[in-house]
Point group: C2
């Protein structure tokens, strides 16, 4: 029905007749003429209706915003004085020869010129998505998936689909369940990831697998969580972790290059231990120059228990963040930050304002300066590279509390002091511990129970599991985890040992993962992979605040859809078919 998109009109088409289809973005009546800004997915162009064309003018008089129309007209160059440089098509306009109203529009329930509530935006999502910013984000997302697919196709990856109706998977979050009608009383689970299936595809010899695939977690939602999200899922055979990292880094660099004309450069790599030590995070935002600086060795012997206690405890930590220019903080500012770190378990926050480095102890301002001597003070100033006008903020507690609290504080200070550079800061975090030790002494996997340890036999792993390093790797961008992966266990004995260390009994292992253990005994190949969060990747690339802004039809924070009113009630017949009954009805208080 159209010859061109609105956004495609330009000077090369002057004097040509074109037909456009789209929506009335705005109508203005000016100097006896009617001007229509007409919009389609590629952009906006101005159409002009002359009162001499009586029939068309009458029709144009009926137009309101968001009417769906078709226009045939002649492209004209605008006089220099009327060129609109803010508009891609601003050098031309369309002189209308024919106008058809394809569908009228009632007045909109959303005002495009103001912020609308999330509930309203989701309820009228089809209108919200007409907004150019939203329309472009989803178009951009489509370009990302297309670029990713092309890269993987070109690298001999096969797109293989795995089931959505499957068995509970082991990622640890809550599963969505689906009652079975043919096996009454039993349930499928929606996959939290295709982890086990992709491993089985490697056992089956497909060599290189990928899938851009929906995954499901029934968790309480946060800004960057949704019940269903999309993963770029990758698995390879006969490749080392380094090979997988190199290949996927190349993929992400090529996507950024193609779609944003950004060269991310070679990604630096950092161990988990270093990331936690310097940045208090396993996904450090390297755009933020602040770092955690360890000073326990300097403060070991001071006569101040708050410092000397943790400094002499092997599970303790004493660390400082030096905030350049931070000496201007008021007492109230400092109290605010003290309260902030309190949320992470810190019982207080010592601080030192550095007024005059040259003046030694005299130049420092702090309630705790009395506990320090000149030498200690000098060492701290030197190590933190403090300058006049800076402030030093201290954490002193268990290793985990200091690391968490200062890691969070670092991010907040970076924002508050405008220190976060406007750039892309990718990195790899590697050498994760295999396990995290809970207070009970029990072990949980830092990645998942199929992650292989680095260069170890099952016996070596069993001898010292807490210190074992895994062959896992996370790709981090601007403080967000873009993706994570690992070399997987392909040896049945090793897999059995890991289950044992995790306290999974033989019976439970067999019940839950028996098919994987079975598969490992038939010549399972070495394999390794990685999964990216597509939603988050696109969100970062387009600069959106939430993954909801890069999904066509997201759910609310109570996992509902205001557009379709899902979820809804089932009827008795459906429930009887499934052999289930509803015993509790409850809707979230927020609604």
């Amino acid at each position: 029905m159209r010859s061109h998109y609105c956004g495609q009109l330009n000077k090369s088409l002057v004097d040509q007749e074109v037909t456009l289809c789209g929506w009335v973005n705005k109508r203005r009546d000016l100097g006896g003429l009617i001007f229509i800004d007409m919009r389609d997915r590629e952009g906006v162009v101005q159409a002009v209706i002359d009162p001499d064309e009586t029939a068309i003018f009458d029709a144009a008089n009926k137009l309101r915003n968001e009417f769906c129309i078709s226009i045939t007209g002649i492209v004209r160059a605008r006089p220099d004085s009327q060129v609109n440089k803010d508009m891609a098509t601003g050098e031309v306009e369309l002189y209308v020869k024919d106008l058809t109203i394809l569908n009228a529009s009632a007045p909109l329930p959303l005002d495009f010129n103001q912020e609308n509530s999330e509930e309203a935006r989701l309820r009228y999502r089809y209108l919200d998505l007409r907004r150019p910013v939203m329309n472009q984000r989803l178009q951009f997302r489509s370009k990302v998936t297309s670029a990713v697919r092309r890269f993987l196709d070109d690298n001999a990856f096969l797109d293989i689909e795995t089931p959505i109706l499957t068995k509970a998977t082991p990622e640890g979050a809550r599963d969505y369940l689906v009652p079975s009608r043919t096996h009454k009383g039993q349930f499928f689970a929606l996959p939290q990831s295709p982890q086990l299936f992709k491993q089985l595809l490697m056992v089956a010899g497909f060599d290189r697998y990928y899938q851009i695939v929906k995954c499901f977690r029934d968790e309480d939602l946060r800004a960057d969580r949704q019940p269903e999200f999309t993963q770029i899922d990758i698995e390879t055979t006969f490749m080392s972790g380094k090979d997988v990292m190199s290949l996927t880094e190349k993929m992400v660099r090529s996507v950024f290059n193609e779609l944003l004309s950004v060269d991310l450069g070679e990604f630096p790599s950092m161990t988990y231990a270093e990331a936690m030590r310097r940045f208090g995070s396993d996904k450090p935002d390297l755009r933020n120059p602040l770092e955690l600086v360890d000073v326990a060795d300097i403060l070991k012997d001071v006569d101040f228990k708050v410092f000397s206690g943790p400094a002499n405890d092997e599970k303790g930590r004493v660390a400082v963040i030096n905030v350049p220019g931070g000496a201007s903080m008021t007492r109230k500012n400092i109290d605010g930050y003290t309260e902030f770190v309190g949320k992470y378990g810190a019982k207080g926050m010592a601080w030192i304002k550095v007024n005059d480095v040259a003046a030694g102890l005299e130049g420092l301002q702090s309630p705790i300066v009395k506990f320090l001597n000149a030498e200690v003070a000098a060492q701290i100033l030197e190590r933190t590279n403090a300058k006049d006008g800076d402030i030093l903020l201290f954490g002193s507690d268990t290793y985990n509390t200091v690391t968490d609290a200062l890691g969070a504080l670092r991010l907040k200070l970076g924002e508050d002091f405008g220190l976060v550079e406007d750039k892309w800061a990718p990195l790899w975090v590697v050498d994760f511990p295999m396990f995290e030790e809970l207070e009970s002494g029990a072990l949980t996997p830092l990645h998942h129970p199929f992650t292989a340890p680095s260069n170890m036999t099952p016996a070596e792993l069993a001898a010292n599991p807490v210190n074992a390093i895994s062959d896992a790797y996370d790709m981090v961008l601007n403080g967000c985890e873009l993706g994570g992966g690992s070399v997987r266990i392909h040896n049945q004995d090793m897999q059995a040992e890991v289950f044992k260390l995790l306290g999974i009994s033989d019976e439970e292992a067999k019940e839950k993962f028996g098919f994987l253990l079975d598969a490992l005994q038939y010549g399972a190949p070495p394999h390794a992979g990685l999964a990216f969060g597509l939603d988050r990747m696109v969100m970062l690339m387009v600069g959106a605040d939430s993954i909801r802004d890069v999904m066509a039809f997201p759910k609310t924070s109570t996992a509902a859809c205001p557009l379709t009113s899902a979820p809804g009630f089932a009827n008795e017949e459906q429930l009887a078919d499934l052999g289930i009954q509803v015993v509790a009805k409850e809707v979230p208080a927020a609604e």
Copy 2:
């Protein structure tokens, strides 16, 4: 870890050192040497181990089928006498310099050299998929999706994801339900198709949408049905039905061309009425030359109620299939076919063996020939183009019974008499009725309730709904429906009228489809689309018997997964979280 795939070795690599990774396909000990057929996803190559290489020979002696190994060796040309022409790599072999066993294999539970039960194949799917035929089918499938995506990308289509957790959709089959934890007592439904969402995406202005997407139907399974299946889902704005047909025909032709080097040619188009009349099917297999020939007008006045009854009833039908060479049928054969058409409601089957056309009535052999006169017989022979040695098989009953029964009989005869040509026979079926009239007089949609009628106002539709033709189209290939689509209703009044004709009350329409009706009032554009069944398309292309053979992890006919043992029982805590209880437990008798 590898330098080449096994299947890539050829004469151009002679004298080069290569490293391969893969599986032991077969080991033979011959003339003091060990020969290993080594397999990966790209093919098989022969490796030779010389007893002089003692360490390697000892390792090779341990090899059994399906061990996972890595071999480094020198490519050698085979002597002419040993070239294996049945093997793509048969001109070369690998002289082994190094051999590593990456993983041993226990004896396999499946014997690759024989047919295995479906249950066993699915339970050990990761082994079943190692079979080259299965491995290649899934690789082929990946190439199909990739070719489809490239075509659609090149045609400005956007890949946009729609929700899996959504509201019950109107396709009419049973939904899979997902209990909500945050809205206890309520349920999501898994989509039977993204129909309404893709229409909303058109309202949102995305112009051209596609998605290769999982759809779900909780139906009793047949050979070509699965609980989850994959659709190539397409929707366009401002395109006519003809435009959509032309574009998607181009797509399918290009995929066949690219992957099978087959030119499907221009697709013929046939109305639904013609398809039913000539072939007794809305998806005629044009490889089969048999046709249904109407003869009611000829038999109107014969003194044989079986013919004259339906021939004079406007809802009746009398039709013939002429089977070339069919006069050789025995009485038992004929009884068999009579029983066969009985399954479709036919109360009997009249037949005439054509022994000698030139002899007129005398040349015909049949219990019913006595009811015919020479003129009637001659007319029938002429219209059916019968030759000596043919048999005429009659259907005489209501229009639907005759059409169904002879439609099915036609297919069976085509198979039994080897009449089905070995070729590709695509076509479009168009001009479907809007509605099917049930015996109760109620109307159901032949496609779905969002299908637009051809060139009609709501009032015209209401005046004569039974004869209304829709703007729908099906793509048929070799008697299978590859895809179907339609122009959609974009006018709120028309949509309301269709709901009304279908007996959907205002209240029900609002409850189920209110959001669609809402959307139509805000400048909804004209839109049209189509959806292909990807599984079936791939099945036809690779010549598999069942869509299960082109899916990585299909379910059994009772919708279970023998590999993961899904579905399974949920624990009390999970059920309590969801506010549901199991009240009936039951497993299918077949298990």
